[in-house]
């Protein structure tokens, strides 16, 4: 049940990123909803599940992108694992902590993507990458975190995302 819940959330997030979120871009970027789910889940469930959900989310995104398959799988799995390491060390009820974590995670994922893109011979000027994509995306994603984290937290505690580890 929990696995289906996570898959449903990731699928919905990718669907929104492909369709509706294009109408809500700020400074040319849209928020990274898939990353948000991965960060929430890793923060509440630890690094093992963090990496697994990161892999699933990356797979969904790569399928939607249709090229450079594996780029999102790698970066999102890594960030799921890293955020999961904080699971037992930080206060889970704090919105400020999760906002900061989401911002940092998005920043790191975008930097990883930037590095992976240069491996694929896609060169983007570092200034443009940093100020037009990486920082705006991380900020936009972090701003949306307080809207969704409370619901995710409650659902994880006693709702339909409650249950054994995947």
């Amino acid at each position: 049940m929990r696995l289906f819940g996570i898959i449903f959330l990731l699928g919905t997030a990718v669907f929104l990123e492909v369709t509706l979120l294009n109408f809500f871009t700020i400074l040319g970027v849209k928020p990274d909803l898939v990353l948000m789910i991965i960060v929430f889940n890793a923060f509440l469930r630890g690094s093992r599940e963090g990496a697994l959900v990161g892999l699933l989310g990356g797979l969904f995104e790569d399928l939607a992108v249709g090229s450079y398959f594996g780029m999102n799988v790698l970066s999102l799995m890594a960030i799921g694992y890293l955020v999961g390491l904080t699971e037992s060390k930080l206060l889970k009820e704090s919105t400020i902590i999760i906002v900061f974590l989401a911002w940092m995670s998005s920043f790191i994922v975008q930097v990883l993507n930037y590095i992976l893109l240069s491996f694929a011979e896609i060169y983007v000027s570092p200034g443009i990458a940093l100020f037009r994509i990486i920082i705006p995306t991380a900020t936009y994603t972090a701003i949306l975190v307080p809207i969704f984290y409370g619901r995710f937290y409650r659902s994880n505690k006693s709702g339909w995302l409650n249950g054994r580890e995947i």
Partner: protein
């Protein structure tokens, strides 16, 4: 004694009937003035009448209030539903209106511009976009079953959108000109200065034209069109207008930031050029709608074999 009494009664009744008939006649509808008695009576009774009427209304209102409330609640509910339904229809109708306008523009373009340019085009709807912020690709609802092939050029009635990079049975992926992986061989329409239009990652609808020969003067507001070199994009498709100019770091070339004619972030319907035929009627390009006719393809200094003058052949 009895007969005398009866006669009196009959006389009295007769007088009464006749008086009433006369009174009726006297007070018939439409007379100009009323009698002083009537007038006085009316004046005296008027406030009382008003009071009674008012009281009657209030009582009636009081008695019927609960029923009226129930009726109003029901009426309100049904009116709300009706309003919601009508609002929905209005929105739908507005949406149909907008869609109609867009499709009409596409149709106008298809019937007016494509024969002159020698294009055969197929319409398609945009059904998705790249989920990330690094690339600019869209997915359209036409695939190999509809004759779509890799590298076919995608346009709108305003100008160049991009090219098809991959095709499935029912969909195609289009690489937008704003994508950093995109490169379009282009010309500045006025000066014929060649260059390469490249996308900028996550740029809000801007592209950059690089490698413009330094000896050719370029300035803002000049129109950039595809050059046809490289055989992917047919010649003469409007790309955008120069916003600002500068020098490349090497100092050997100029570059220019360009605002594409097409609003890349608001694409809903596009056209795919499936075939490009020869079009030699160069003078007719002045009659083309904006931005296709802008800058005057047939104005002085232009190569007569310029825009659309050379067969590009069928797209790969």
């Amino acid at each position: 004694m009895y007969r005398e009494g009866n006669t009196k009664k009959i006389i009295l009744i007769s007088i009464l009937v006749i008086s009433l008939l006369a009174l009726m006649r006297y007070t018939e509808f439409g007379r100009v003035s009323i009698s002083p008695v009537e007038s006085s009576l009316r004046d005296i009774l008027a406030p009382v009448q008003g009071l009674a009427m008012n009281l009657g209304h209030r009582l009636r209102g009081l008695v019927s209030f609960p029923f009226a409330v129930m009726e109003m609640v029901n009426e309100n509910q049904s009116m709300k539903e009706k309003v919601a339904e009508l609002e929905g229809r209005l929105r739908q109708s507005e949406e149909f209106g907008y869609e109609n306008d867009r499709l009409k523009r596409l149709l106008d373009y298809k019937s007016a511009v494509t024969p002159l340019m020698g294009f055969e085009v197929t319409g398609a709807a945009v059904i998705g976009r790249n989920p990330g912020n690094w690339f600019g690709t869209i997915t359209i609802n036409k695939g190999s079953d509809d004759g779509m092939k890799q590298n076919m050029t995608v346009i709108t009635e305003q100008g160049l959108v991009g090219r098809i990079t991959s095709v499935s049975i029912n969909t195609s992926e289009v690489l937008l000109i704003t994508d950093p992986r995109s490169g379009v061989s282009a010309l500045i329409q006025e000066s014929r200065a060649p260059g390469m239009v490249e996308g900028i990652a996550s740029s809000p609808g801007r592209v950059i034209m690089v490698h413009i020969p330094i000896e050719i003067d370029i300035s803002a507001d000049q129109v950039v069109v595809t050059s046809g070199f490289g055989s992917i994009y047919p010649k003469g498709i409007p790309v955008g207008r120069i916003l600002e100019t500068g020098k490349e770091p090497s100092g050997l070339f100029n570059n220019a930031v360009i605002a594409p004619f097409v609003d890349i972030n608001r694409l809903e319907e596009v056209m795919v050029i499936t075939t490009v035929r020869s079009s030699n009627n160069i003078t007719r390009f002045s009659g083309l709608p904006s931005p296709w006719g802008e800058g005057g393809f047939d104005q002085g200094g232009l190569n007569p074999e310029g825009i659309g003058g050379t067969p590009v052949g069928v797209n790969p």
